[in-house]
């Protein structure tokens, strides 16, 4: 384990996509019409035809018995997020051996989840859905809505990171002249939220986490009572305003 300079140079250029095994877009909806609020989050397959958007919007409105004005709003919201995703699609992003920390901090119905773990970014076989399923199974979560929420949270963060890497790729290309690519990348790699593997798994340290960091990386699942849920909801709404 001599020189770790190999880490920095294995950057490859890849077409933009979410770095998971299936290229699904996380979509978040937060629509308010006439005092009625509809919040939702789910994953969407961008290779579905656009007609699917309207179908989905109508179906959702029908199932939840929302007023029909929601249909157009929902469809529009989904479409904008999809087009935004597609706008990144043609571009390149850099992938390398990057390990990023992912934080989960979400509340689904009565379950509160806090977690913090490391995720390998250039592993295109990774599957947030699988992770979510295992998480729920291992932690014994009974509420079936938690799984998808976790998967979506992970996906959103990966999406953001992917977008960042696209922009950084663009910047690097703009300012490429005269600089060596390697320098720039190592800078951007350690900056932001990537974990420097060199430091972590360097010569002297071991793979096992330090004891003081155990708490940080431990998953916490809390079941809330009704009053706590209401209190949290009220707080969230106040924050939003």
């Amino acid at each position: 384990m001599k020189s770790h300079s190999a880490w920095g140079t294995s950057k490859s250029l890849v077409k933009f996509r979410i770095p998971t095994s299936d290229n699904l877009v996380p979509i978040r909806l937060d629509i308010e019409i006439d005092g009625q609020r509809f919040r939702d989050a789910f994953t969407w397959n961008p290779s579905d035809p656009d007609s699917e958007v309207v179908v989905f919007a109508k179906r959702t409105v029908k199932d939840l018995k929302l007023p029909p004005a929601f249909v157009t709003q929902i469809a529009q919201s989904i479409q904008t997020q999809l087009t935004e995703f597609r706008s990144y699609e043609g571009q390149d992003m850099y992938t390398g051996e990057r390990v990023v920390p992912i934080k989960l901090d979400l509340r689904v119905n009565h379950t509160l989840i806090k977690d913090h773990f490391l995720w390998e970014l250039n592993n295109f076989e990774s599957d947030p859905e699988e992770f979510a399923r295992n998480f729920c199974k291992d932690m014994g979560i009974e509420d079936p809505e938690v799984g998808p929420a976790i998967a979506i949270a992970i996906r959103e963060q990966l999406y953001e990171i992917a977008v960042q890497s696209v922009t950084s790729a663009k910047e690097s290309r703009i300012s490429k002249k005269g600089r060596r690519a390697g320098e720039f990348f190592s800078a951007s790699k350690t900056g932001g939220n990537a974990v420097d593997l060199v430091k972590l798994f360097g010569n002297k340290s071991s793979v096992i986490r330090k004891r003081k960091e155990w708490d940080v990386y431990e998953p916490i699942v809390d079941l809330l009572s009704n009053e706590e849920v209401d209190a949290l909801e009220a707080k969230e709404e106040r924050n939003i305003r």
């Binding site: 299936d22 789910f42 599957d127």
Partner: protein
């Protein structure tokens, strides 16, 4: 006339025995409907005896060797004697209905029609869509539905709880719904109407006008909704929330700005509460129904000024103590026969075509039963039942005469109604038992026939294949023969130039071949 009791007095309700799962199937049992009738009513023949259950498994096992359905002998007696249209059900019995065209379903395997209808998972185009994922989605959806089979599950509930991309989930959901593997519970509206009418007729005939009148007033009371906030009557639409157990009128809902829209469901109140039906309109409605039966467009046209929906809802809510003006019908014999027919469908599953009230005899039976009054109808039914049992013995004509005579006599004796109620009930119970027995036998026979026809079909298919192969072999042989002929011919041709008399010997050679 059947007493309309929902449970057979003699067979107790057994607790559902543990299902014997053949594989990973969950505990709910699955009964397979035999070929659904053309109007796609789920003719679930849930049986009340173990033997009948096994007769149903027989076609099941032949048709789908990979089927992992668990057919337990748990019974649902609530199904046997109640309405002709079986409703799913009391969760005690844990019986799930699926249509016969979905018999292929198995928890652990993927059938070829699934491959055909949802090909995106099987063509390997995208790495995340593979059969394993498909099975996971499909089984998850079906499992969620079966947790509460009485309620139709919506796509949104499903997709909120399954980890995956919503487009594929939607397609799988639609596929499953189309094939009746989920949401196969609701009865379509016309059926509901007829069975309600029948039950009302039965109730009216038996319990007299009082109960019917009572039920009529109950219906009108439950229609108006009060807002729990302002205590006013909700007119147009109200918002009902199960979570908070509240009903709000539209104004209060908006004012109170209840934001979480998923809790509140919007309920439309029909316009009928505002405009009352006059007697004349009601009469027109009934006449129209008599004439046109199920065709609500014509009925609405006849009544004039009322939409189809209004006609339907009003008819359904009619208290049946009313007397109709039907076409005059005087023969007691007809009464006996037709009331016998009326008693039958309340027991039978919808194999009987007489459950449809548009049938003229049925309609007349309804009128007559209200015209002649409760007691006469009961007595006539008894007489009819004795006639029926006598029919089984082969004494057709005599017993009919007897029954008609008895009916006449009893009608004349109606004032001095001195029958012993107990014996009547005993007779009725016996008759009912016999009818049930015959039902079961009939079902057994039918399922046996279905099995046999399936076998025969399979054999025919095999024979056809054999025929095809034979034909091929024959053709091959023919070709070989031809080749042989050609060989011999050329051989003889080679031989003959050695001999001087070419022409003759060629001719000989040819002839010899």
């Amino acid at each position: 006339m059947a007493t309309g009791s929902n449970k057979s007095p003699s067979t107790p309700i057994p607790e559902p025995s543990a299902a014997k799962p053949i594989s990973d199937a969950p505990t709910p049992t699955i009964t397979i409907d035999l070929p659904p009738p053309s109007d796609s009513t789920p003719a679930a023949i849930t049986t009340t005896s173990a033997s009948a259950a096994t007769s149903i498994t027989a076609p099941n096992s032949i048709a789908t060797p990979t089927t992992a359905t668990a057919v337990s002998t748990s019974t649902s007696t609530s199904n046997s004697n109640a309405r002709p249209h079986p409703e799913p059900l009391s969760s005690d019995a844990d019986i799930i209905h699926i249509p016969s065209y979905s018999r292929w379903f198995a928890w652990n395997s993927v059938h070829e029609c699934e491959v055909r209808f949802v090909p995106e998972f099987f063509d390997g185009r995208s790495p995340s869509k593979n059969p394993r994922v498909y099975k996971y989605y499909r089984n998850a959806i079906i499992r969620r539905f079966r947790e509460n089979p009485a309620k139709k599950i919506t796509f949104t509930e499903v997709r909120k709880t399954i980890v995956g991309d919503v487009g594929s989930i939607r397609r799988i959901f639609d596929f499953l719904e189309a094939w009746g593997l989920i949401n196969y519970t609701g009865s379509s509206k016309p059926q509901l109407k007829w069975e309600e009418k029948e039950s009302k007729l039965a109730a009216a005939a038996l319990q007299g006008g009082d109960a019917a009148g009572g039920s009529g007033t109950n219906v009108t009371i439950s229609k108006s909704k009060l807002c729990s906030n302002c205590k006013g009557v909700c007119s147009f639409a109200c918002f009902a929330s199960d979570k908070h157990d509240m009903t709000l009128c539209a104004r209060c809902y908006v004012r109170g700005s209840y934001r979480d829209s998923s809790e509140f469901k919007r309920v439309e109140i029909s316009e009928e509460a505002k405009t009352d039906w006059t007697d004349k309109e009601t009469l027109q409605l009934l006449e129209a129904i008599m004439h046109y039966g199920d065709d609500w467009k014509k009925v609405a046209g006849h009544v004039g000024g009322r939409s189809e929906k209004e006609c339907v809802t009003h008819f359904v809510n009619l208290p049946f103590g009313e007397q109709f003006d039907g076409p005059p019908e005087s023969a007691e014999l007809d009464t006996a026969l037709s009331s016998q027919n009326l008693s039958r469908p309340t027991k039978r599953m919808c194999l009987s075509p007489l459950t449809d009230l548009s049938h003229p005899i049925m309609a007349q039976a309804a009128f007559l039963s209200t015209l002649v009054g409760v007691d006469v109808a009961e007595v006539a039914a008894r007489a009819a039942l004795t006639a029926l049992s006598a029919l089984g013995d082969g004494k057709l004509k005599e017993s009919l005469k007897i029954s008609s005579g008895a009916a006449k006599q009893q009608e004349s004796d109606i004032a001095s109604n001195s029958e012993d109620p107990n014996s009547m009930e005993g007779d009725l119970a016996e008759a009912r038992l016999q009818l049930e027995k015959e039902d079961e036998e009939l079902e057994k026979a039918i399922s046996g026939i279905a099995v046999q026809t399936k076998e025969i079909e399979d054999k025919i298919v095999q024979f056809e294949e054999f025929d095809l192969q034979m034909e091929r072999k024959r053709q091959q042989l023919q070709q070989l023969l031809n080749l042989l002929f050609v060989d011999q011919f050329t051989l003889s041709l080679h031989k003959t130039p050695a001999q001087p008399k070419a022409g003759e010997s060629i001719g000989e050679g040819v002839k010899a071949d």
